[in-house]
Structure formats: C-alpha cells, structure tokens
C-alpha cells in the first residue's frame, strides 16, 4: 500500500500547536470581543426600555397625585383657585378624534382595499408612493394646510378644522396597515369564493375583509392612538378653549395643546395639571396598544398545522 500523499489537500494545516501562546491569546481576544459586543447590545436594549420606564415613572410620580374626580369633570379654574380640571380637554380630544376617524378610517380602509385587491402596476405604485410621502409630511405642515383650507374660509378656528388635520394624518397609516393585513389573507380563500361564483367585489367584501378584520381593527386602533398625541396641527386649527365647546364650529381644547399651554406657563398648579394630562394621554395610548395586542393574539390561524 502506498503512503498517503502529504501535500495538497492532505497536507497538515499550518496552525500553531494547541497550548501555545498564540492560540491562547487568540482565544482570549475572541472571548473578550464576544463579551464586549454582547454587553453593548444588551445595554442599548436596556436603555430603550428604561427610557419608556422613566417616562411612565415621571408621569405617574408627578401626575398621579393630581388625578382626581375634579380633573375629569371640571373646567379649568382661574389661577389661584383649586379644584379645576381638564374635562373640556378630555372631551375635546374625544370630539377631535371622532372627526379624524370619520375622515381617516373610511378613506384609509377603502384605499387599502384598492391597493391590495385591485389595480395594475403603475397606478397602485404611485398611490403607495404618494401615501408614504404623505406619511412623512411633518404634522405642522398638515396643520397649516388645514388652516388654509378650513379655518380661513370659515373665519375662525374650529373642531372641524382640527379633526380634518388629524384625519389627514391618519390616512396613510390606515391605508398601509389595511393593505398589509389584506395581503396576509391566503389566496386560497379568494379562489374558493370566486369558484363559487362570487364576483371580485363580493369576494373582497364578504370573505377577504372579514378574514383580515382583526388585523385591520388593530391597525386602526393604533392609528387613532397615534394622532391622539399630535399637538402641532391643532395649534392653529382647533386652537384651544378654556370652556366647553358646543357643536363643531368653535375652537376646542385638547389634551396635547393643554399640556403645551400649561407646561410652559408660570403657575405651579398648571404644571401639576399638565403632568396629569400627560398621564391620561399616555394611559390612552397604552390602552390602545395593549388592546391591539390582545385582539391580535386571539386571532384564529388560517390553517391547521
């Protein structure tokens, strides 16, 4: 039997022998690098979570004590008097979000349905691109737009103008999230409906949208929660109001604007109220987010594994 050839690919690899200094140093370097990178990434993750924890902590610490029955039911009191609340701002935010939803939800929903189900190559591409651009427009510019289009012709600030501005901000997110959830519905469901003689629109309305319903709902909930905190567009559309705002044509108070007004004001009572308002707003956002997670987690899966 011939000797096995010791050159070429059978040649012994040119590494130093184990146990030598070079090997030990390399191992040490690798392990330290591993540890350092792990620490850095873990620290950054921890930092992210701690920022949220700090914000919540501050809000609860400073604002918790000001939360009272008065806060939710009374109008702002004159400076120096105690017992006032921000009931008008809470209701005001509610009214603004209502108008915003009436504008943003139907347009977003229908637009999302169009993008997911109909259309060819160029037009949907342009629509998607325009939607993404609209999403990137700073909210204060949308506020200026609503000012020009609604406030100026009406000659005064109003709930309607504020609602319009918020509605415009809602549209892109609603469109994209609806589209994503509709695309997630398996093709087989559409084919099954069409094979039974359902027209395209019937298939979409009776099978595809109900199938994606939970996802779409969570997308819209998160959308509303996001615009609830928008302050800039409200500054010159809804403006603000120290009293109740009947109807839809008057300026109206809202939580974010009140936080802004009170936080930069000189009075300590105002600062307390601002903290409390911040806590209420944050509570709303958290509720919407957690609610969305719960709804999504109870979603029935589309196939049996």
């Amino acid at each position: 039997m011939t000797e096995p050839y010791n050159g070429g690919i059978n040649a012994a690899p040119q590494t130093p022998s184990p146990g030598s200094i070079a090997v030990k140093l390399r191992m040490f370097w690798r392990k330290s690098l591993n540890l350092v990178m792990l620490s850095i990434t873990a620290a950054c993750a921890l930092l992210t979570v701690s920022v949220l924890a700090l914000i919540l902590g501050y809000l609860v610490w400073h604002g918790g004590s000001s939360l009272s029955w008065n806060f939710f039911t009374k109008l702002p009191a004159p400076v120096g008097e105690t017992g006032g609340g921000l009931a008008n701002a809470i209701v005001g935010s509610g009214k603004l979000l209502l108008i915003a939803s009436l504008i943003g939800i139907p347009i977003g929903l229908m637009g999302g349905v169009y993008l997911a189900e109909f259309g060819g190559r160029t037009f949907p591409f342009m629509v998607r691109y325009a939607t993404d651009l609209l999403n990137g427009v700073p909210s204060i510019i949308i506020g200026i737009f609503a000012y020009t289009v609604v406030v100026v012709p009406m000659h005064h600030f109003s709930t309607l103008a504020g609602g319009c501005a918020l509605g415009i901000i809602m549209i892109p997110i609603a469109v994209r999230s609806t589209e994503e959830f509709l695309r997630a519905v398996p093709r087989g469901l559409r084919e099954a409906a069409m094979a039974l003689g359902a027209s395209k629109w019937r298939t979409v309305a009776t099978v595809v949208v109900p199938a994606a319903f939970q996802g779409i709902l969570t997308g819209l909930m998160l959308d509303v929660a996001r615009v609830a905190g928008e302050t800039a567009p409200l500054l010159f559309t809804a403006f603000s109001n120290r009293y109740w705002s009947p109807g839809w044509n008057q300026p109206i108070a809202s939580l974010p604007v009140m936080i802004y007004t009170y936080a930069i004001g000189p009075y300590e009572e105002w600062h307390q109220q601002a903290w409390a308002a911040g806590l209420v707003l944050m509570g709303l956002v958290l509720l919407a987010n957690i609610g969305a997670r719960i709804v999504l987690s109870r979603r029935a899966s589309f196939s049996r594994s």
Partner: protein, 264 residues
C-alpha cells in the same frame, strides 16, 4: 366494485357515443410569452369521472382551472381555442353563471373563517337563493359524508375541524349549489388514507348525478375511481382512454413509461 378502474357502465370502450359535458378543442394556453398547453382536444362525458394524470408541471392543474375560467384571475394569461359546456362557449358565458354550474375543490382545504353552516351556505347566499337554507346545508353535508360529525356544531368555526374534515366541508360547500360539474384539483394530496378513501367513496356515489374531472398525482387513485383517464405530458395530451384500458394496455410508449414509473 371491480378492482380495476371500472367504467361507469359495462361495455364502455371510449367516449364515442356518450353525451358530452365538456368538449374542448384546440386549447392553447399561455402564461405571458410561455406556452403551457399545446393544442389539447378532450371530450368529458356526462356523469362520469375523468382523471387527468401526468408528472409535475405537465399542465394538469392549468388545464383544469381553465374549465371554470379560474386562470383568468392570474394576470397576463391568454387562452386560445374552444371550450364548450353543453354546446355553449364557456368564454362567452357569464363567468358567475359558469362557476355556479362548474364547481371546484382545491388541493389544500380552504374553508372560510366563518362557521360550518355559513361556509356551506355561502354559495347559496351569493347566488340569491332565499329558500330553506338549513335543509340544503344538511343535504350537502350528508352528501359529503360530514353531517354526522358536525351536526351538533354547525355554529362552530370551520377551523376547528381536522384537515380531512375541512376538505370534506369544502366539497360540501361546492356541492351546495348543485353544480353540474365538479372539478377536483388533487383533493386528497394533503389528506390521510382514511379520509382519501371516504372522498373516493363520495365520488363513487356522485357518479350518476355529477360530472367529475379530477387531477391526481396518485395513479392508483386514478385507476380506482375514474372511468376515463387522460395522460398529459409537457402541456400536451398524449393519450385519453377508458381507465382500465389505459392502465393495462396503453397505446403510447410514453404513457406506459409513466405508468410503470420509469419517470415522473
């Protein structure tokens, strides 16, 4: 039931002389520039089971899906040729009416995310049927051999059923509108042997009242349950004959090679 694929009636040696449900002539189909079906001519007799066999990618599903114009849902496809359903041109017909007469069962069970009752009733509702839904639903579920298993839980979600039950639910859903033709695209490929046997039994019982065209990868299934078999290869129809004859004495050497397992 004889062990080899028995024709519907003893003595049938070909489709000649039988009334035809589908008459397909010179069918060519294109996915964009790529041709998938080449000049197919096929007769599908009334109330018999016709099986389509062939290796993967030979165009069986493409061909089947053209019979109820499901291929139109895919972009950039083109169909040339003629498909006649009871003498009427399928391409000139209203597609909704066509799909009411020609039902389809897909490879993977695809029940709607609704209750079992709503699934079966869906076809009836969208076609404007306003009579007694409950009786119709029960009749369809009985025909699909699913009634006994679900009669107490008609309001439960269809997703709570097993894979085999879901497929039988899809069959019940397709049968609910009383189609003249049932197209089955590898209905048992995702199912266990017990459920497969149940579905084949179902096909046997439907034979006298419903024309069936089944695409199958499983040659033994084709041999067991069909009256006529068509062998496709690379988009062309190679041979079409009475099942027992095709499997015992195939005329074309390619058919023989496929059946004996030399390829595919």
């Amino acid at each position: 039931m004889r062990l080899t694929g028995a024709p519907g009636q003893p003595g049938e040696t070909s489709t000649a002389g039988l009334p035809l449900r589908f008459k397909i002539s010179n069918l060519n189909f294109f996915y964009g520039p790529k041709q998938a079906l080449f000049d197919i001519n096929l007769d599908v007799p009334v109330n018999r089971v016709t099986a389509l066999i062939g290796p993967s990618g030979c165009g069986k599903s493409t061909f089947l899906r053209n019979l109820n114009r499901m291929q139109e849902t895919i972009r950039h496809t083109r169909l040339e040729g003629e498909i006649l359903l009871d003498g009427q041109d399928v391409l000139q017909m209203d597609v909704v009416k066509l799909r009411r007469r020609v039902g389809m069962v897909f490879q993977r069970p695809n029940p709607f995310p609704k209750s079992i009752f709503e699934n079966v009733a869906y076809g009836l509702k969208i076609n404007g049927y306003s009579g007694r839904l409950k009786e119709h639903v029960e009749k369809s579920l009985r025909r699909a051999a699913l009634w006994d298993e679900v009669k107490d839980k008609l309001n439960h979600s269809a997703y709570a059923l097993s894979g085999g039950q879901q497929q039988r639910l899809c069959i019940a859903r397709a049968l609910a509108v009383d189609p003249e033709v049932l197209l089955l695209d590898e209905p048992c490929s995702a199912l266990d042997p017990v459920t497969t046997a149940k579905i084949e039994e179902l096909m046997f019982q439907l034979k006298g009242i419903c024309t069936m065209v089944i695409v199958t990868h499983n040659m033994q299934q084709a041999a067991r349950s069909s009256d006529f078999t068509a062998f496709l290869l690379d988009g062309k129809l190679i041979e079409h004959a009475v099942t027992s004859r095709l499997f015992t004495t195939p005329a074309d050497p390619r058919t023989e090679a496929y059946i004996t397992g030399r390829f595919g």
